[in-house]
Symmetry: C2
């Protein structure tokens, strides 16, 4: 493929930015990739492993002359970073982000983007429970969706299409969505599931009569798959819940309502009601398999485990 | 390996029994494997694919002359099956089960086991979201725990040790546990996680403002891993919740208590409390990786997906 941006600046060098750098390099999508991070240790590691072409100390330095600036920091840090880079942005450049919440990011970043710079919020729906400069890998975005949220931004259509071409070049599928709708959809598909998984791990950890060692040994009975996401980055998730509060509380309310109905069915022995509910939920899970967003292999990642062991 | 039981009877021919048959055959652990299932269609498929050595029409016929009888039916069906086979059991034979709840199974099966027959309840902690005679595979139990629950049974130590040898021969690790404790541990590591996953899928399906298609497309953001277990067999799970009611309601109560505390922290903007909670829950998840009950590969099953696509 050919170069889409001559110079890309990555602000933050964690899982997403690291994977973007490796994916852009693999496919020759960027002329030069400059990166920075707030932590000196992260910058040191990134330089040592050659994660980007050039590591610099400040965000202002990183964005100078950049054609694309990617804000890959926790949502709560977006405003300060945007304020810091505002004066250094090149006219005609595009600023994007990879935050898990979009309305809060638009409110935080938008005011700091000068006229003549395109701001195109985005959110790649890909991740693992790992974080830090070591955690990225070029295949992270393959066959995953990246949602582009152009509303509330001041961006020309050509700038939006160019960013979409970059994501497609890295292997992702792209869709456009309004910010409010994005935040609601993600509260269902991501934010509330994460909160619930964190909670269940906390319950297991608190329980005096069942030891952590028992929970860990016997996790293959469901806990393992259910709570895989509960090891994700605490700072990122704190910011998600604080900035997408309204949608998260809305979905949580519906969740507890339904959970109480099932709890009551268990207490009163309504077997038919439970059976009907469990039968209905199968269909949506099977849809995920059919849509290619999951594997039908009956091994729950055991093949991945063997691969991991062989490496 | 050498033959541990000359004749094994499998009552029920779903995921667990099918995987046992394939694992015993692979390792030469059983002389002859006889199987039966209530549904004529299941018996037909099992015979067609050669899942066991001989398919018979009734449970009584299956257990006649068997050295080991495995009850691999939903927990709610155990009592009727035990009653049906009681008169046909060979003196000195061992009866075991693979049910996800142990106290209810002991109460249901125990009274039907004649003197001179060993009853050794067991529970292999392995499964996928698939069911039926096609779903088994020989590697299902590799490196997974099988809990042996000898209390409440009338079994000689030699019979218990022999069943443990069978499970170890099929690749499993074995532990012994009391029935009440088993039911509590499993309510934490399996039963409540399944109920919560089913509930979250139900919420997603009910939500008018977010379509099923959106939930499915954007599931990689967390929903996919979190709800993988929500496609498991509805009959099995109905029975689990009806028969392990007390422990499930106990753990559910603790879960909602903790969830409400986090919900309140979100509503009031207590970022530090959220961050502390999420940091603490990371440790237990990482323990699961270290205990070899999960993979550290950062691909969330993508390698498995490629394997599946290549088949």
């Amino acid at each position: 493929m050919s170069v889409i941006y001559d110079r890309v600046a990555l602000i933050g060098l964690g899982l997403i930015a690291g994977s973007m750098s490796l994916a852009m390099r693999r496919d020759g999508l960027a002329g030069e990739i400059v990166g920075t991070a707030r932590s000196a240790e992260t910058r040191r590691v990134a330089a040592e492993i050659g994660l980007v072409d050039r590591v610099v100390e400040t965000a202002g330095e990183a964005v100078t002359g950049a054609d694309l600036v990617v804000l890959a920091v926790p949502v709560g840090a977006m405003s300060a970073v945007a304020e810091a880079i505002g004066p250094y942005l090149k006219p005609g450049a595009t600023v994007t982000d990879v935050g898990s919440v979009k309305k809060a990011v638009i409110d935080a970043v938008g005011p700091h983007i000068p006229d003549g710079v395109h701001f195109v919020p985005a959110h790649p729906l890909a991740g693992t429970e790992h974080s830090g400069p070591h955690s990225g890998f070029a295949e992270l975005f393959a066959n995953r969706w990246c949602l582009i949220v152009p509303d509330g931004s001041r961006a020309e259509e050509a700038a939006i299409a160019r960013l979409e071409a970059l994501w497609q070049g890295m292997g992702a599928l792209t869709d456009r969505m309004e910010a409010d709708h994005h935040d609601l959809v993600l509260s269902v598909t991501s934010h509330v599931p994460h909160l619930i998984a964190y909670t269940m791990v906390g319950v297991a950890d608190d329980l005096g009569r069942v030891t952590d060692s028992e929970v860990i040994k016997y996790s293959a009975a469901g806990f393992r798959d259910f709570t895989r996401i509960a090891a994700s980055d605490p700072t990122m998730w704190r910011d998600v819940f604080l900035t997408n509060r309204e949608a998260v509380l809305d979905i949580l309310g519906r969740f507890t309502e339904e959970l109480f109905a099932l709890q009551r069915a268990i207490r009163t022995g309504e077997g038919q009601e439970l059976h009907d509910y469990f039968t209905r939920t199968r269909a949506i899970r099977r849809g995920i398999l059919e849509a290619g967003q999951d594997t039908d292999a009956p091994d729950f990642g055991r093949a991945a485990s063997r691969r991991g062991a062989a490496e």
